[in-house]
Symmetry: C2
Subunit: 269 residues, 2 copies
């Protein structure tokens, strides 16, 4: 890989550029973003040059799409026949099935491999980019690709290979469902104005995600509806069963099972 095009130079795209540099990448990094963004990214030393999508695509060996999901879907259409044979295209979108399907339809000569770095921050934008954002965090690829795998390991991420459908099912459970539970809980508590008087750390912990902006989530809901619906169904069924078991001795076993699962999540994440 000699030339990398980062399409969408925000928190994730910018961090990937910085991480590549830190890991010893000595080729050129071209940014594709709005004029004010590429200007900031250049002045921060995140990218070496700026170019329009088609120019950057024609020159790059690796094209990294770090835009919101809907824009990734559009960019894949625009890249179509423009990306060269031998070029690898990957993305950083939070859902994978629709993106991989679109890529299979649209991309002619280049090779597409879906990606999802499980990393982020509360604030966004290229100013927040950091070289160590991916370090120690899972980084999903939807297929094996040696060049990409090499760089993902070099930036310190933990490579996980997952089929796109399986990825979307799992993130529906560990990411999309938690967001919706937090949002629903905040709304239910908000319906009882006196409740905040007695709220403690439990309510704060569980409503932190409810502060997330809707813009990120709109695209996720639009592109992972089936898996999220299945996660809702599994969760509501579990709640209904806890509701019936609430005062039964069986709850002790449920608490044990939950604590085992919660500890396992802490070991790997």
């Amino acid at each position: 890989v000699k030339t990398v095009a980062i399409v969408g130079v925000g928190l994730i795209g910018g961090s990937f550029a910085l991480a590549l540099r830190k890991a010893g990448f000595d080729g050129q990094i071209i940014g594709v973003s709005s004029p004010p963004t590429v200007e900031r990214a250049q002045s921060l030393g995140v990218i070496d040059a700026a170019a329009p999508l088609q120019d950057a695509a024609a020159r790059a060996d690796l094209i990294y799409l770090a835009q919101p999901i809907q824009q990734i879907l559009e960019t894949l259409g625009l890249l179509g026949t423009r990306a060269r044979k031998g070029t690898v295209i990957t993305d950083a979108g939070s859902t994978k099935t629709l993106i991989c399907e679109r890529a299979a339809d649209a991309i002619r000569h280049a090779k597409f491999v879906g990606g999802h770095p499980m990393a982020g921050k509360e604030s966004r934008g290229v100013e927040e980019a950091e070289a160590d954002l991916f370090r120690g965090r899972p980084y999903v690829l939807t297929a094996r690709e040696p060049h990409l795998e090499k760089w993902i390991e070099a930036i310190g991420a933990r490579l996980v290979i997952l089929d796109p459908v399986e990825h979307d099912k799992l993130v529906a459970l560990v990411s999309h469902l938690p967001q919706l539970l937090s949002t629903a809980l905040a709304v239910v508590i908000g319906d009882h104005s006196a409740a905040s008087q007695v709220a403690g750390p439990a309510a704060s912990d569980l409503t932190r995600l409810a502060l997330s902006p809707y813009e990120i989530w709109r695209d996720i809901f639009a592109t992972n509806g089936l898996s999220i619906d299945a996660a809702f169904a599994a969760f509501i069924a579990k709640l209904e069963s806890l509701r019936l078991q609430l005062r039964s001795p069986e709850m002790e076993r449920v608490f044990d099972k939950a604590a085992t699962s919660a500890r396992a999540l802490r070991k790997t994440s």
Copy 2:
């Protein structure tokens, strides 16, 4: 108040004793607990003396029940006619309706006022007790009582007066429901062994409460079944409506409402 009896000298009872001292209480503090516990509490300087319940009750102007809920219910029966007229009895149990009903039946001469300090820590025991545990935290009383109010304010807590039934409804929403959501989520995620590979901070945040020990919760479920069931019903109805609205523009308004509620919880807690 010249003599205080702390019944159950653990994290909460011990912290109340230390907080009273720090706030200038210069009377005697008698501990009622198992022999090893009162020994540790005395060597830590948390209590001045140890006595059996009946002795301590006969001497105290303020009796502070900081036991698990089921033991508070039993202690109220034992105190019955023993606590003197002029003595105030209060408790620190997490649910209030059943405790206040039992006190109304059992306590003859003394005055009972239910209490619930919204404070705690992950570890328990008198070794964990600290004078500032209640500082800045809500402290619910189920009725006004000038002497008790004076000390609750002196230890830096934020006094909230709530009817027992209203208290139990509100804590079902802000404390018991979050616990059950966290437990249910951990179980649902645990059912998918591959999920921990892609789990990030969202899953960690929402499953932290699932690490709580069942012993505390058994009594809460046993004594607040109706309010918890109502909280389950409201939450499941909200989830079902989000499930239907998932891909509709209405979700933007839901996210706004949730963020407003989550911010309000952070202002007061």
